[in-house]
């Protein structure tokens, strides 16, 4: 019993001491200051590394240029949508929130302000500056988000593998057929369950199939008519080819599910993925790679934008506008482009010599491909409605079943057609 008394006492003392320290902190949720200063809250996902790589320097530059505005950053490592939704429901929404494909969902629930009046006042040409990708951040014809991170897909290829096979590197003229053909040639059978070398690694991830589908004239959903359009003759052809290529020259799920990065291990010739693959590949010893635009005419995008909350008052909204306008500006986007964690959304930056001539970690890659790629971005109707999350989940599920060989492409598209239509009808 004595032991317990001691523990109890220790707990009590610690608790009191800690209470004192905790209360000393006080609450700091007030943001309406005197002397004309405004503190805005900015929330983004990802972790500490994302903050440092993508935002920190730009925010510091902004605060320097606007001494009356202070930016308080909330970094959300996980469950971003849950946090944002709780904050909105609790009337505590951050002044500026990052959104991506989930943006339309929130916008359709009236969470963000319409940016058009600000855009008009400041004479911004959104389409010219940010290209077609900006269409992702529109709801009912009005902008709710300022494009920030570009993040279209990109073709990354292992030069050594191409050299060894004596094949020409991928270029901006490539179609999906060229891609499939090269992939097949670069696949080398092995003795065990795993092949010696794979031509590519594509799966149910949209950056792989999205571009192929759109380049062949297909689409998933028509947002204007609210009709599922996935079961079209073009798509049947696209997915039959995609499926065939997957079987012949891509890493099967049974192999890839161990999460071993076989591209960086030098066992895959080409991948269709995002910018984020570039930096880690740079760090690898003995890895020689380059990038090329995605094959085909169009590509899917996974960019993100910054929005302004409807719950903020006018002063905060004005300050928030200054902030997001700055973040998307040429100057700030140049800073973002400096480390290629992600791709700037601003096309003028992508086209600039300053961006294209830079070396990434002492190495040069084909930076022009990035600008080229960002121009290829096309926004499917699937991304233009609040149905995105549900529709994408179902589509990936079914495509995975197809790639696993459990159902034919034709049957997959047929069942997807009715499932997607049911989903779209719910909204």
């Amino acid at each position: 019993m004595k032991g317990w008394k001691k523990i109890g006492l220790t707990l009590m003392v610690t608790a009191t001491a800690l209470t004192l320290t905790a209360c000393g902190g006080g609450s700091s949720n007030t943001s309406g200051e005197s002397n004309g200063k405004v503190t805005i809250q900015f929330m983004h996902w990802g972790g500490t590394d994302t903050y440092k790589g993508d935002y920190q320097k730009r925010i510091e530059a902004f605060e320097k240029a606007n001494p009356k505005i202070k930016v308080k950053t909330i970094t959300v490592g996980d469950n971003y949508d849950t946090k944002l939704q709780t904050m909105i429901a609790g009337n505590k929404a951050p002044d500026v929130a990052q959104v991506a494909e989930n943006g339309t969902g929130f916008a359709s629930k009236n969470a963000f302000i319409d940016l058009d009046p600000y855009i008009k006042k400041d004479n911004l040409d959104m389409v010219k500056t940010y290209g077609n990708a900006s269409a992702l951040y529109k709801w009912k014809g009005k902008f709710f988000g300022m494009p920030d991170r570009g993040g279209s897909g990109i073709l990354i290829y292992n030069k050594k593998i191409f050299d060894k096979a004596g094949l020409a590197y991928p270029n901006d003229k490539w179609t999906m057929e060229d891609f499939y053909k090269a992939a097949k040639k670069l696949t080398i059978d092995g003795t065990g369950k795993e092949k010696k070398q794979y031509g590519t690694q594509v799966a149910d991830y949209v950056l792989g199939w999205g571009g192929a589908m759109m380049s062949n004239g297909g689409s998933v959903i028509n947002a204007a008519t609210k009709k599922a359009t996935i079961n079209s003759p073009e798509n049947v052809k696209t997915f039959e080819e995609y499926n065939k290529n997957f079987k012949e020259s891509s890493i099967p799920y049974q192999v890839s599910e161990d999460k071993v990065n076989r591209f960086q291990g030098g066992k895959v010739a080409m991948i269709l993925d995002g910018m984020w693959q570039i930096q880690p590949s740079m760090k690898l010893k003995g890895m020689e790679f380059d990038i090329a635009p995605m094959p085909g005419k169009y590509t899917w995008s996974t960019g993100s934008a910054l929005t302004i909350s409807r719950q903020s008052d006018k002063a905060h909204q004005d300050a928030a506008w200054k902030f997001i306008k700055y973040m998307g500006s040429y100057k700030a986007q140049q800073i973002l482009g400096k480390n290629l964690m992600d791709c700037p959304a601003n096309l003028q930056v992508l086209d600039s010599k300053e961006f294209q001539n830079q070396k990434i970690m002492g190495k040069t890659v084909n930076m022009e491909a990035i600008a080229e790629n960002q121009r290829k971005v096309k926004i499917d109707g699937m991304l233009k409605g609040p149905w995105y999350a549900e529709a994408m989940t179902e589509t990936s599920n079914q495509l995975k079943e197809m790639l696993l060989g459990h159902q034919t492409p034709a049957a997959t598209l047929k069942s997807l057609q009715s499932k997607l239509q049911t989903i779209v009808n719910k909204y």
């Binding site: 902190g25 609450s27 500490t48 609790g90 960086q264 995002g274 880690p280 760090k283």
Partner: protein
């Protein structure tokens, strides 16, 4: 259990079984340690081995870079976590023993009804009451503080109350009768007789509360926004978060973090065993000898 007169082959058999199960349960843990020590090259390729092949301590050094400043003030997070954990343990130990005593030994005709009500609070998944509860705490002005994580602990959790009640029902009735004859009132019985007897149960509760509060992610995520008020688990989630949509994470860092996070839990458990399993503190020797 009486087992002093065990034959040697009985003992051997038990040890063999214990080791076999132990190996299976420990294997994933071993794997975790091995991954946490993998170097950059291995990490990029994600080709990990079961036994550590390399010892890249940098993963651990990264974690403890700057204890109280910078982007990840681990020291501050640790103090925040300690604050939440200690108060939660006190709250749970007090409330569950107190309330459980009411349910186990008090007599009231609608007691079973109340008990069922207590159980029903476990039956609605917490995910659905997340937002209403958030709104309550926001209205109390406690948003962006650690109190929403602590206050509920003082009201007891159905799980712990239920467990303590089950433990109390196994206490021999004669003990109470004797105490009543000694002229103790119910509060006195609770304090002098019941509390010491249910200490093993409360030790279990303390350990579970520690684990839960130590690792809770959803609570801090919802209620806290300033990184100076983060708990370790939340900070760890940010440190190890994926930097891109395809979810590539620094697996070694995650494992190093997880390993460090579980060390205090192992220590607490190892140390708490003496209260959990020691017969001298339990029912065994207190009554009938």
């Amino acid at each position: 259990m009486l087992d002093r007169k065990m034959k040697w082959y009985h003992k051997l058999f038990i040890y063999v079984v214990l080791c076999a199960i132990g190996f299976v349960l420990f294997a994933p843990f071993m794997y975790m340690i091995s991954i946490s020590l993998a170097g950059k090259q291995t990490n990029a390729v994600q080709n990990f081995s079961f036994f550590p092949k390399e010892f890249y301590w940098q993963n651990y050094r990264t974690l403890f870079g700057n204890m109280f400043g910078g982007e990840y003030p681990i020291g501050t997070w640790f103090l925040n976590t300690l604050f939440v954990v200690v108060l939660s343990i006190i709250g749970q130990m007090w409330s569950s023993s107190f309330v459980a005593y009411g349910f186990a030994k008090m007599q009231y005709k609608h007691k079973n009804g109340f008990f069922l009500l207590l159980l029903t609070t476990m039956m609605l998944p917490g995910q659905i009451t997340l937002i209403p509860v958030f709104i309550i705490f926001r209205n109390l002005g406690l948003y962006n503080t650690l109190w929403p994580l602590i206050i509920p602990q003082f009201f007891g959790s159905a799980y712990n109350i239920f467990f303590t009640r089950q433990f109390m029902t196994a206490i021999p009735g004669e003990l109470y009768e004797a105490a009543e004859l000694d002229g103790l009132n119910y509060f006195g019985i609770y304090r002098k007789i019941v509390l010491p007897l249910v200490m093993p149960a409360l030790a279990a509760i303390a350990i579970f509360t520690f684990n839960w509060a130590w690792g809770d992610l959803m609570g801090p995520l919802i209620y806290v926004s300033d990184s100076s008020k983060f708990t370790l688990a939340l900070g760890a989630a940010n440190l190890s978060a994926a930097t891109n949509p395809s979810g590539t994470i620094n697996t070694s860092l995650v494992m190093a973090l997880s390993f460090c996070l579980s060390i205090p839990q192992i220590v607490i458990y190892f140390w708490g065993q003496k209260y959990l399993f020691n017969l001298n503190l339990g029912l065994g020797n207190s009554g009938s000898k």
